[in-house]
Point group: C2
Chain length 277, copies 2
């Protein structure tokens, strides 16, 4: 598979690259960011997947989350995928929370989304294969995290494929989308009216039904302007009812911004590093 | 003086604020970012001034330089001023490197710039007074740094007012503007044809003639795409010819981006903290 280098910048002794490739999953060109620490010059390194939230591209977290320094110190790579397919041929909606920038990490089964909105397959299968074949990362040492819609993606993916992801965390995840306006609308559009099809994409349901074999770390800002949509209480209840090992931390005063994400990035990178190295 | 709060986000236990105020120096409204660490709730804290480069507003470094975490740890505030006056009444040029976003930290004496382009006065006098009167920062413990055009500003300001700034550093500063296309054009426009008026705004000249009473830290990327314009060799020569205490570090592989700035931000914040606390 061919990969086009859009940019490479030295960062904390390693390289922050941006790459474009043709995706079979989405049928479009896709762009992602990858930070490789210096350690990758001497052998394969663990890799953390960072899934972004609504309206984001590969770029937001790459420039604003300040993850690279901690990843460099820990000796792990971090990947920043896009949040949806892009391009003129790709269906869209005028709302910010549906269509481009809002893939919700599902494989759409409904028109007009079906042809390109296959972000689950892209993030779980195609991109790890491409990154593992191209760069010095260890596909047997993968962790996953994300923010908001990306936290939803990280949790649902990790609970579905615990064999692939040895660690999981989330920042302010959309925690119970089947019961939220950040979820019902999108799951209806992408997966149809049958709510049974939604269940695989709700962290609270997955936590109740399966959990995760390792510890789970979740940070949520106490002054998040979207608390009503995120529903942290539902996921926290499911976690503790299950006796799921891990931590759900309510951080007083923090909102939904990257100032929040950046504030706790060190904790999350170290969390993954401890479990991947 | 009245101050309007545009936003406040919790960040690393402190607050990242954005504020707008009427400036007498520029005759316009001005916007700046200020990070206050938690320590500021218990008393005045030292304050680091971060001057940004061409095309930047107050926002670029505030979101991409990852300074807040280190400032929180050290217990110092950091201010992100804008790089020029803004507004419909303000003169501009279609080039990215003159006019709005390119104030060069001088007080313009030439038309059409003279009425509003007084960024030296704004940064050195008016804004520190406003910030000191409004927030829990210690105006007797100020340091200054910056990137590119802002590194130029930081160095020229610190060498002119060593009594006001107890520490100074710079990231990839425009080091010898009187001999560079990043400088001659702007100094001619703002200060006129008489090169004598330019001398107060050239770090290499100031370093040769006065130096700085403390140590100076400068980081420069070895793969910076603007090395020809920045002229680090001129300033390094002046520093070492003078036996100026400090460090000029050429960092191999790094370019001019915020990935470079972020990579060395911890060193710079600690540099200032050691001298301010």
């Amino acid at each position: 598979m061919s990969l086009e280098t859009l940019s490479e910048n030295r960062s904390f002794g390693g390289t922050q690259g941006v790459y474009r490739h043709r995706s079979e999953a989405t049928g479009t060109d896709m762009t992602f960011g990858l930070f490789l620490p210096e350690h990758a010059q001497h052998g394969r390194v663990p890799v953390l997947w960072y899934l972004s939230g609504l309206t984001c591209t590969h770029e937001n977290a790459m420039t604003k989350a300040a993850a690279q320094g901690w990843c460099a110190e820990a000796g792990i790579a971090i990947v920043f995928p896009d949040t949806s397919p892009r391009g003129e041929d790709v269906a869209d909606d005028e709302a910010y929370d549906l269509g481009k920038g809002a893939g919700f990490y599902v494989n759409a089964t409904q028109d007009p989304w079906k042809p390109h909105f296959r972000m689950w397959h892209y993030v779980v299968h195609e991109l790890p294969e491409l990154v593992g074949d191209t760069f010095a990362v260890d596909r047997d040492a993968m962790g996953i995290t994300g923010h908001s819609m990306g936290g939803h993606g990280a949790l649902t993916i990790a609970m579905t494929h615990p064999d692939r992801y040895r660690s999981v965390s989330a920042f302010a995840p959309i925690a119970n989308p089947t019961e939220s306006d950040w979820g019902r609308k999108q799951l209806t559009a992408y997966l149809g009216e049958d709510r049974d099809a939604w269940r695989a994409h709700d962290s609270t349901i997955l936590m109740t039904e399966r959990g995760y074999p390792g510890e789970v770390l979740i940070d949520q800002g106490g002054s998040d302007q979207f608390l009503d949509l995120l529903k942290p209480e539902a996921l926290a209840h499911a976690m503790m009812a299950r006796r799921q090992p891990g931590q759900f931390r309510m951080q007083p005063g923090y909102d939904h911004s990257y100032f929040f994400v950046q504030s706790f990035m060190a904790d999350h990178v170290l969390w993954h590093a401890e479990r991947l190295i």
